[in-house]
Symmetry: C2
Subunit: 196 residues, 2 copies
């Protein structure tokens, strides 16, 4: 057995989150157990439960980083007209999922019904949807850009969710990038017709 490392409180918390992400990447959501995590950082499951209320809370912290990376990716995109910005967002979201399939799945898998989400978690999701709403608001100031952004996200999510579990080909031979862009085009078309 590896000699236990000595961490201070914040270091240990950070080490646990990093190890959790690695476990998730290597073995999927099912690999993220307190026992495996304790072993990875050289501590005990009890110590992990001292620092996190449960394993959901660990997954939420892993997802916090995923949300932050998604936001950074969006914010790093060069300025563009609303149409190009929305197409770039759709492409970027598909790229992100393809490059980090398992981390992306961690956003949607794990315990369901019994899970509750902290305020910071829902705020991060809100801020991501707002980044879709911003270019829509430039095109459609009258309508609720936020509602349209939610709908656009969900239509792209359908494509990305099936591609993430490698089952998109059960439904279509179209590739995920074209499908995500088509969803954007339909939304832009909808907004355009509404503006007349």
């Amino acid at each position: 057995m590896a000699r236990p490392r000595h961490y201070d409180h914040d270091e240990l918390r950070t080490a646990i989150i990093e190890a959790a992400r690695k476990l998730l990447e290597e073995g999927g959501p099912a690999a993220l157990t307190a026992r495996a995590l304790a072993k990875a950082v050289g501590t005990t499951p009890g110590t992990i439960y001292n620092l996190f209320s449960n394993m959901n809370a660990v997954l939420h912290e892993v997802n916090r980083r995923t949300f932050t990376e998604l936001a950074q990716m969006i914010d790093a995109a060069p300025p563009a007209a609303p149409r190009d910005r929305l197409l770039a967002l759709a492409d970027g979201y598909v790229d992100f999922m393809l490059a980090r399939r398992v981390v992306w799945r961690g956003l949607f898998e794990g315990p369901h019904q019994t899970d509750t989400f902290p305020g910071w978690y829902t705020s991060l999701i809100d801020e991501l949807i707002d980044r879709i709403a911003a270019p829509i608001a430039q095109l459609q100031p009258r309508a609720s850009a936020r509602l349209l952004a939610e709908e656009l996200f969900l239509s792209v999510h359908g494509v990305v969710a099936l591609a993430a579990i490698e089952r998109l080909d059960l439904v279509t031979t179209q590739d995920p990038h074209s499908l995500a862009r088509s969803a954007v085009e339909r939304m832009l078309n909808w907004i355009e017709v509404d503006r007349r």
Copy 2:
């Protein structure tokens, strides 16, 4: 231990599929193990593996019934103009998922990358998508109705998939029926503009 029942080959296969569906409904995809299944029908895991090549094959048979029920639901709908038919399909798909949440999840969960799907399985999915393509073809004979049907399915799937795991409220306060209908409306609008 319950006295083993005696089945003939086909009866046992049917009993296994029925028990598998019940296990799925009661405990989700994770509950569907060879051991639990053998116990439920009073046989051994070895017998199950004589009848099914693996547990994926059992889940595929459970899903066959789900696909058949979806097709029956669609075919039972009264005749309607294409627009109303597509809206009814979207409503029906949301209703089906809400009524049979875990069975619906069985279509998309379970083993991923290593899974292969038999020909009859992909044919059943094809036939479901064709049922969406039929009313689209009435509206848009020039375009590829099938491609648009795939895109419409995927945009509704994004809504239904998040609602199935009770996470739609992380993204939106809109309800799944309105969201699914909005996806249909955007597709109809797209087809309408294209026809001009």
